[in-house]
Amino acid sequence: MGLVEDLAADLGPARVRPGGPDDAIGGRVPAAVAEPLSPEAVAAVLARAGRDGLAVRVRGGGTKQSWSAPPERLDVVLSTRALHRLIDHAPGDMTCVAEAGMPLAALQAAIADVTTHRQRLMLDPPGGAEATLGGVLATAAAGPRRVRYGTPRDLVIGARYVTGDGLAAKTGGRVVKNVAGYDVAKLLIGSHGSLAVITEVALKLHPLPDAARTVVLRDPDPDRAAAFCDAVRGAPITPALVEAAWPEGLVLVRVESTEEGAAAQVERLRGLGPVEELDEVAADALTADLAARAWAGTGPVLAVGVVPDRLADLLRAARDAGATLVARAPVCAGELALPDDDPDRAARLIDAVRALGGSVQLRRGGEDLRALVRTAPEPAVLRLEAALKDRLDPHGVLAGAAR
């Protein structure tokens, strides 16, 4: 029997199909695409993979496969899209539990009933409506709101997962405070599907604010733009987002609070620089434009991070390389889009960020660029990562890579 038939015997024929060109990851077309309906079925796929020596790559919405190194071999794409149920929403506890294949947008729609709950999962990663919870976790993807609410590691309170050898386990729980057991979710977040398949996630929610106001500063001088961001950070303001964008030297600040609180914070912002307030429509449009900007072309995209007091240097590095930068200013993390595939330009930019003590990851681009971005961790770190991989995926079936 062929692989599709084998998996169909495990999962039922409707849950398996042959892979096609659209399923290719890093140029490799999988022999089969499996869409299990339950954690047990996920375990069955992995068990078969272990027995038959297959390489399995996990896929949610498929929006961030380019964030991970391409697989060296690929037999099965394990799609989580059939695991898409909202399992529990406890509005009074500000928590929810959902299966990993649930699109983030679907979750937001399900929990944000305007008349009753008014709450939201404060994650706004790139990837649009297709990104799934599991994929967002696996890639540790975060967006502008991390400035106030943090990244997936700050919002996940529990998870269920299936290890590479088919052990279905849970970590954490459904309560917002809990220190029982190892926080395995921390390991899975950012693991790029290399240790286990995330099947269910418990999340902490936040209330939607009463009022939101947005101001913009436009200043093409990196030092002045960075000084404004620094002043915002030092002022009694708790912004939901502070996005700094290059080349135009634009800083967008959105405050979310009570009506009185938002008004007072806008007044503060006016005192910090020549800002212009945007109405709601213009603010939403610019926010959406900024979120899409780094991904707009087809050229390489890097994720970069530096310590907060190097923001001006990061802006200058973007300017000097002719790159587009959109960064969360207070945490100094963002995306750098290169105008073309010129390897020298990319190398100069990577060197410049590294010279600032910064981190660089590839979000989109060719394998030459990935090689430039890749760094060798300390040997003891490498040993620990390898030991975790060995113990959680002993047969090496999961074809994801955390680096």
Binding site: G173, K177, V179, A180, Y182, G261, V307, L384, E385
Partner: protein
């Protein structure tokens, strides 16, 4: 035979340790060793074989390497203020005390971070940056004495973690001595470093993944404005419902704390306050002034709508401090109500507060022992104080049973066996209440990746036959348990 071998190996280690840290920093006199036989969980004790007090990362690494070579288990110890036995040693093992490593190495205000040695106290970090308008957010009740190394090991929380999160949300990087003595830096200066979040899993691993010898933690600017109130209710239910109503109104307070009548009586016995109610609810808001003022008005209205008999607003920092003194004195004051007490630590979904409190009252009646309730109501973290008389042997046992029954109740309501004290030795045998065999197996694999030889704080966090008697490894679930006819504690 085995005992002799152990003694020989400890002797060898003592010799090597003296060469590493200097003879005065190696303790082997039984009287001195006794100081290290327990942490804040005082009913479990074991005198260690040796205590070593290193002064640097290199010294810690050399001592751990020696332990690794000789196959001797070791446990790190900060202030010893933990409440779950996390720092309890083994008789044939070594305590690596970090009390000499208490320097603040760097304060980086532009980047809002502080680099400290593990023996620095939690409060010392805030004290070091307070003159510049900053503070370190996690604030466990023991913050005057507990150390940052212990905070990382236990993922310490505190009253204000409802809004600000736990230690893991504030730690940026750490230098760690691994179980074989290798030294690594986990985490990074800049955000979004590639690779696994090893620091994230190390924090809260209760000293089983390595020893932190240096940590970089983030600091926050002091909030512009703070408002605090205490509201009194005629029933515990009304207090609990008020908590839910505040959260449902879209307000995230800095802290929401609750005390029941017995806890209030205890606090009254040791402070000058005049509180008198079935429940007292403390609500604190912080942030930009205009936001805090408008939300504080809303909180006051919500308290009134839930029949608060009285709402007192702190009109000055002194009055705020008095409210917190009353709250924080409840633990120690429990000693005035009974000869002895046990502090329990469990978590429930915060909306289930009224039901769980009724359940605790019923258990209290069944066991004939009083329970005072003090808790971080905002995040559903209960700290029931089980009062008993240590001179009455059956009460010692019953109080333990009652405490564990309360934990079981928390799990029944979808909660956790521990919100901030940790599992340690105290609750290792309770882990199967919350996690099944496969969950525990996966935990054990994570532990094994960090400590394949089982020397780094063994017998903590996970159930072992040594600790839990007949608990038979991880994979087997007894048919009686599976049928829901009984379980193990």
């Amino acid at each position: 035979m085995a005992a002799t071998q152990t003694t020989d190996r400890l002797g060898t280690l003592a010799e090597r340790a003296r060469a590493i840290v200097g003879p005065v920093w190696v303790l082997s006199d039984p009287a001195q060793l006794s100081t290290y036989e327990c942490d804040g969980l005082t009913n479990q004790r074991e005198r260690p074989g040796l205590v070593v007090l290193p002064a640097s990362t290199d010294e810690v690494a050399a001592v751990v390497r020696a332990c690794h070579e000789l196959g001797i288990p070791f446990v790190a110890r900060g202030a010893g203020s933990g409440l779950s036995g996390g720092a309890m040693p083994r008789a044939e093992g070594v305590v690596i005390g970090l009390a000499r490593m208490r320097e603040i190495l760097a304060v980086d205000l532009p980047n809002r971070r502080v680099t400290v040695q593990p023996g620095v106290t939690n409060l010392a970090i805030t004290e070091a940056v307070a003159p510049h308008g900053f503070y370190y957010a996690p604030d466990p009740s023991s913050q005057q004495v507990c150390t940052i190394g212990g905070n990382l090991a236990e993922n310490a929380g505190g009253a204000h973690c409802l809004k600000y999160g736990f230690t893991v949300n504030h730690a940026l990087s750490a230098v760690v001595v691994l179980a074989d003595g290798a030294v690594v830096r986990l985490g990074a200066d800049a955000p979004d470093a590639p690779g696994l979040d090893l620091l994230g899993v190390l924090i809260g691993s209760e000293g089983t993944c390595g020893i932190v010898t240096e940590a970089v933690v983030g600091i926050l600017p002091k909030p512009q404005h703070v408002e605090t109130l205490v509201a009194f209710f005629d029933t515990v239910e009304e207090g609990g419902e008020t908590v839910s109503a505040i959260i449902s109104a879209g307000i995230v307070p800095a802290a929401v704390e609750m005390m029941d009548r017995l806890a209030i009586e205890a606090a009254r016995a040791v402070t000058k306050m005049d509180w008198d109610a079935e429940s007292a609810l403390i609500v604190e808001l912080d942030g930009p002034e205009s936001e805090v003022r408008s939300q504080f008005e809303a909180v006051t209205r919500i308290c009134a709508a839930h029949h608060a008999r009285e709402v007192r607003v702190a009109a000055s920092p002194a009055e705020r401090a008095a409210i917190w003194t009353a709250r924080k004195s409840a633990f120690a004051a429990a000693g005035r109500l009974a000869p002895a007490y046990r502090v329990q630590d469990g978590v429930i979904p915060r909306t289930r507060l009224p039901e769980v409190l009724r359940g605790i009252a019923a258990l209290s009646e069944r066991y004939g022992l009083r329970v005072a309730n003090v808790f971080h109501a905002g995040d559903g973290n209960l700290h029931p104080l089980v009062l008993y008389d240590s001179a009455v042997p059956e009460q010692v046992e019953q109080s333990e049973e009652l405490a564990m029954a309360i934990v079981a109740l928390c799990v029944e309501f979808g909660g956790s066996i521990t919100g901030e004290h940790g599992v340690g030795t105290e609750k290792a045998c309770s882990m199967p209440k919350m996690f099944d065999g496969d969950d525990l197996t996966a935990f054990d694999r994570v532990r094994g990746a960090f400590d394949p030889d089982g020397l780094c704080n063994p017998d903590k966090l996970l159930p072992t036959p040594r600790l839990c008697g007949e608990v038979p490894g991880f994979h087997r679930v007894h048919p009686v348990e599976r049928a829901g006819l009984g379980d193990r504690l």
